[in-house]
C-alpha cells in the first residue's frame, strides 16, 4: 500500500469512528457489590413506615421535591435542581428504597444521578445518610 493510500485509510477510519454512535450504558458501569456498600445503610430503630417518613423529611430538608412515593414497595424518587449560572443548571435525581429485614431491621438504599451521570462518589451518600440519621433520631423522639 502506498503511503498516501495508507494515510487516507487512517483518516477515513478516524472519521468513521467519530461518526459511530456510542452504545448507551444500559447496565451501569460500577461494581454491583461496591455500589451497594456505598449506597446502603441498615437501621434497627424505626419500622418501614416511620423510616420512609424520615426519608421524605430528609429529602425535603435537602431541597428535593418528591416525584413518586410508594409505601408498599418502599420507594421514593425525588428531584433537586441546582442553579450554577445563567443557562447552567443541574438536576439531581435520587431514588431511596426501604426494605424490611429480619430482626426488626430496615435497609435503606439511596441511588443518585446528576444529569446523565450516576453518582459514585461515596461522599454524596455519606452526606445523605448523615442527614437521614438526624431525621431518624428526630422521628424516634417524636419531633415533627
Amino acid at each position: 500500500m502506498s503511503p498516501g493510500l495508507r494515510w487516507g485509510a487512517i483518516v477515513l477510519c478516524a472519521v468513521l469512528a467519530g461518526c459511530a454512535s456510542t452504545a448507551p450504558n444500559v447496565t451501569g458501569s460500577e461494581s454491583q457489590l461496591e455500589s451497594r456498600q456505598i449506597q446502603t445503610r441498615e437501621y434497627d430503630t424505626l419500622d418501614k413506615r416511620m423510616t420512609l417518613r424520615s426519608v421524605v423529611a430528609t429529602l425535603q430538608d435537602l431541597g428535593f421535591t418528591i416525584d413518586n412515593a410508594d409505601l408498599t414497595l418502599g420507594t421514593i424518587t425525588a428531584t433537586r435542581l441546582y442553579h450554577h449560572d445563567k443557562y447552567v443548571n443541574y438536576t439531581m435525581r435520587m431514588t431511596v428504597s426501604v426494605q424490611e429485614k429480619q430482626g426488626d431491621r430496615v435497609s435503606v438504599r439511596a441511588n443518585a444521578r446528576l444529569d446523565e451521570n450516576a453518582i459514585a462518589d461515596p461522599k454524596t451518600y455519606q452526606d445523605f445518610f448523615a442527614a437521614l440519621d438526624k431525621a431518624m433520631f428526630l422521628t424516634l423522639h417524636k419531633v415533627d
Binding site: 428535593f64 412515593a69 409505601l71 443548571n89 417524636k142 419531633v143
Partner: protein, 127 residues
C-alpha cells in the same frame, strides 16, 4: 392555587403537584424588542451580523413543582403537620432552561399556608 396533581401516596401523606405560569413582563419584552431593533439597525450600518436576539433570552414561563407532606403530628395528638417544598424552572422565549432552584422566600410559603388554612376552614364549614 391552580396546580395539577401529579402523584399522591396517601399512606405516606405525600402529594406532588405542578403548574406552568407566565413569566412574561411587558416592560422586559418591550425593552428586548427595542434592543433587537437597535442591534439590527447597528448591524445594517456596520454591515456585520446582528448576532443573537435579546428577545429570545427574555423570560417566557415558570414551571413550578410543589411537594406537600401532611402527616399526623407525632408531638401533638389529634393534630397534623404540613410541610411544603417548591421548585421553579425558568424558561426563556427560545424554550431554554434559564434558571432553576428551590423557592426559599418565606413569604411564598406563608401565602401557601394561608390558602391551605382557608381551604381547611371551608372544608370544615361544608361538613
Amino acid at each position: 392555587m391552580e396546580y395539577n396533581v401529579d402523584a399522591i401516596e396517601y399512606p405516606l401523606g405525600v402529594l406532588s403537584a405542578s403548574k406552568v405560569v407566565d413569566a412574561d413582563s411587558a416592560l422586559q419584552k418591550a425593552g428586548a424588542v427595542a434592543a433587537d431593533v437597535a442591534l439590527a439597525i447597528l448591524s445594517i450600518i456596520s454591515g456585520s451580523s446582528p448576532g443573537g436576539s435579546v428577545y429570545a433570552g427574555t423570560d417566557d414561563e415558570i414551571r413550578l413543582k410543589i411537594t406537600l407532606v401532611v402527616l399526623p403530628s407525632m408531638a401533638r395528638e389529634g393534630q397534623h403537620t404540613a410541610r411544603i417544598t417548591i421548585q421553579r424552572i425558568l424558561i426563556d422565549k427560545s424554550e431554554r432552561v434559564k434558571e432553576v432552584g428551590v423557592i426559599e422566600d418565606p413569604l411564598v410559603y406563608q401565602e401557601v399556608f394561608q390558602k391551605l388554612s382557608k381551604s381547611l376552614l371551608l372544608e370544615e364549614v361544608a361538613q
